[in-house]
Symmetry: C2
Subunit: 352 residues, 2 copies
DNA sequence: CTGAAAGCGCTAACAT
DNA sequence: ATGTTAGCGCTTTCAG
C-alpha cells in the first residue's frame, strides 16, 4: 500500500509519560480520562509531562480495548454535483455535526460516488473506525444498507425507508424523514382554500428521489379529493433553479389558464417565479406559488417572497444524531428502529 | 462518554477464522493481505470461512501494529454556509477523493466550525485515525497548522501559505494554490488589450481570503503599470451572486463611464451581468466583463457567456492528494514542503 | 509454505 | 490513591 506513516518519528506513549512523571501507566490513564481518584498534585505533574512531551493518546490502542472511537460516519451518496450545491444538505449536516459535537463525538463525512467506493466505505465502516453511521440518499436496494446491517453497526438512515420489491426493508435500524407528503398536502390545500382551481405542480425527479415522489403524492392526495387532477398539470424537473424555470414554461404552454402552482422545492420555485415574471403573469394575483423547504436565503429574497412549506432541517439533523446516540447506548431497547417523520408547516409570505 | 458499541454482538476475529479453517492466525493474515506464500487450496478454504463468518478485519488492531490507516483527513474550515454552496470546493474535493481512491485510501471530511471543533479535530488527527491530512481555508496563524506540525502528521495545505507576523510560517509542509495573482493579471491584460481604459474590479473579501487579496493584487499589478488605478474602481463583495450584483451597481453609480470590469469570481460575475443588463449596458460593447474560476455551469450559461480565468480545480485536488501520498512515502526526501502554484489560463467567451 | 510467540499502546479489573 | 496484570485483535519476526 502506498501510505506509510513517517517511521522515524516515535511519538511518546503512555509509558513514556508514566516514566517521566514517576507513576504507573494506570495513573496516567486515569489522569487522561479524568477519573476522580488521583491526588491533584499528581494530576498536575502528569499533565505537565504530557504537554512537555506533546503526548497524544493513540486512539487505535484505546479503541482496541474500549471498542469506542468517538467518531460517527456520515455517508452521503453524491449524485453528480447536487449535494454540495444543496443548502438543504448543508443544514442537515450542520445539525448532525452540532449534536454530535455536544456529545463529544466527531462527525466524519464520507462520499459515495463510484462503484468502487462502496467496498472501500464498507471496509471503513466495518473496520471499527466509527461507532455508528448516518446514511443518506441511498437508493432502494442499496448494498450499503445490507452491509451496515450485517456489520451490526448502529445506524440511522435519512429519507424514507428503503424498499425492496416494493416492501419496506428496514428492520433494526432507525430512519428519519421530513413529512414530504403531509407538507405537500398543506401547500396544495392552501392553494385550494385561496379559491384556485387549476393548480399545477412542478415535481422533483421522482424516479430517483423518494422525497420527490412523496411531495407529488401529497399534491395528488388533495387534488384527487376533487376529482383526479389533469396529468398535464404535472411537470417534472430536476431540483435546480433552471429546471424550475423550464418546467414552469412548459406548464404555461400547456395550460395558459393555470392559476396556481405548487413547486416541490424553493430553488425550483425561484426559477418558476422568474418565468412567470417573464411571461407577464403577476404573482400571486394571476398565479399563486407555493414552494417547499423554506430555505430562507431563497424564500425571503424572491420577488415576491415565497410562501412555502417549512422544514426544520437543522433540527432534523440533530434528531438523527440523537437517535444514533440512543441506539448506541441501548441497542436492546430499540429492537425495531423508530421511524420518525418530522412535521412541516406552511409559512405564508407573499406568493400565495 | 455517550457512545457505546453494542456489546452483545461479538464480531468474528482472525482467531475465529483461523480455528474454523484449521490453520494459524498467521496464515489467515497472509491470505487477507494477499501474500504470495500460501497454497491456493488453503487460500480458498480461508476465503470461504471468511465470507461465511462475515469476518471484517479490525482496523484498530491492524493499525496498532502497522501504523497505517489508509484514511486521509480533509479538513475544511467552514465560514458560515459558504463552503457547501461553492462549486469550486466541490470540484477540489472530487479531485482529492478520486486520486486518493486510486491509491486505495479513503478520504474523510472534517469540518471546522466552532472553537471547540479545533480540539476535537486536533485529537482526531493526533489520535492516529488518519495517515495524513489535507487542510483548507486556514486563517493566518491558525492553531491547527501548528498542531499538525507538532504531531508530525504528513500534511498538505491548500491556499497560500499561512503568514504569521507578515512572514511565511511554513516549514516542512507542502502547500498548493491556484495562481490567483497571475490569473488576475491575465484577465486585466486582456481587457487592456481590448482597448478598455476605465477598468473596474469587483474584488472578493480580501481581508479574509488570500485568494481574494491575490486576485486584487493581480489587477493592481497590471493597472499600476499605466499609472495607479483609481481606488474608486475597486469594489469589494462577498463571493456571492447578489454581492456581485450590488457591487456592480455601486461601481456604476460612482463611475458611469467605466468600460470594463474584472470580477473576482464567476458567481459574482453572473450577478454583475444581471446588474449591467438592468442598467441597460450592453456586454461586451459598453462594458467588457471577465470572471474568474471558469465554473462552466455558470460561465457557459450566462448571457452573454463569460470570458473568465480557468483553473483546473479537480486537477488541483488530485495534485494535493499526490503530494500528500508522496510525503507519506518518503518524508525525508522532502525536507521543505514544495509550494506548488497551479497555472491558470484565460478562456475567451463572449463577455470580453 | 506454515506455526509460535512477541508486542503494538492502551484500559480495566484486581490487588494493595 | 496507586500499581500490577492481563488482554483487546492484529502483524511480524523467527523457526521449522
Amino acid at each position: 500500500m502506498v501510505l506509510t506513516q513517517r517511521s522515524h518519528i516515535r511519538r511518546p506513549t503512555l509509558e513514556d509519560v508514566a516514566r517521566q512523571s514517576g507513576v504507573s501507566k494506570s495513573t496516567v490513564s486515569r489522569v487522561i480520562n479524568g477519573e476522580a481518584k488521583v491526588r491533584s498534585e499528581v494530576v498536575d505533574r502528569v499533565r505537565r509531562v504530557i504537554s512537555e512531551l506533546g503526548y497524544v493518546p493513540n486512539q487505535a490502542a484505546r479503541q482496541l480495548v474500549t471498542h469506542r472511537t468517538n467518531a460517527v460516519a456520515v455517508v452521503a451518496a453524491q449524485p453528480e454535483n447536487r449535494l454540495f450545491i444543496d443548502p438543504f444538505f448543508d443544514l442537515l449536516l450542520r445539525g448532525i455535526r452540532r449534536e454530535l459535537a455536544q456529545h463529544g463525538a466527531q462527525a466524519v463525512l464520507l462520499f459515495l460516488e463510484e462503484p468502487d467506493d462502496y467496498t472501500r466505505v464498507a471496509d471503513y465502516l466495518g473496520g471499527g473506525h466509527v461507532d455508528g453511521a448516518i446514511l443518506f440518499s441511498l437508493r432502494p436496494g442499496d448494498r450499503l444498507a445490507e452491509i451496515v446491517d450485517r456489520l451490526g453497526l448502529p445506524a440511522v438512515f435519512g429519507g424514507r425507508p428503503l424498499l425492496r420489491d416494493g416492501d419496506p426493508v428496514r428492520h433494526g435500524q432507525a430512519h428519519v424523514d421530513g413529512d414530504n407528503r403531509g407538507g405537500a398536502r398543506l401547500a396544495v390545500r392552501h392553494l385550494v382554500s385561496l379559491g384556485r382551481r387549476r393548480i399545477a405542480t412542478v415535481a422533483g425527479p421522482y424516479d430517483q428521489e423518494n422525497s420527490a415522489a412523496d411531495r407529488l403524492a401529497g399534491y395528488r392526495d388533495v387534488l384527487g379529493d376533487a376529482g383526479p387532477p389533469h396529468p398535464d398539470l404535472v411537470q417534472r424537473a430536476d431540483y435546480t433553479r433552471q429546471g424550475g424555470a423550464d418546467a414552469m414554461a412548459a406548464l404555461l404552454d400547456r395550460h395558459p389558464d393555470l392559476d396556481a402552482v405548487f413547486v416541490a422545492s424553493d430553488l425550483m420555485a425561484s426559477g418558476a417565479l422568474q418565468t412567470l415574471r417573464e411571461r407577464g403573469r403577476r404573482v400571486p394575483e394571476d398565479v399563486a406559488v407555493v414552494g417547499f423547504d423554506d430555505l430562507t436565503s431563497i424564500a425571503e429574497t424572491t420577488d415576491p417572497p415565497l410562501t412555502t412549506v417549512h422544514q426544520d432541517t437543522e433540527e432534523m439533523g440533530r434528531l438523527m444524531a440523537r437517535l444514533l446516540l440512543a441506539r448506541e447506548d441501548a441497542p436492546d431497547e430499540l429492537p425495531d428502529g423508530p421511524s420518525v417523520i418530522v412535521p412541516t408547516r406552511l409559512v405564508r409570505r407573499a406568493s400565495a
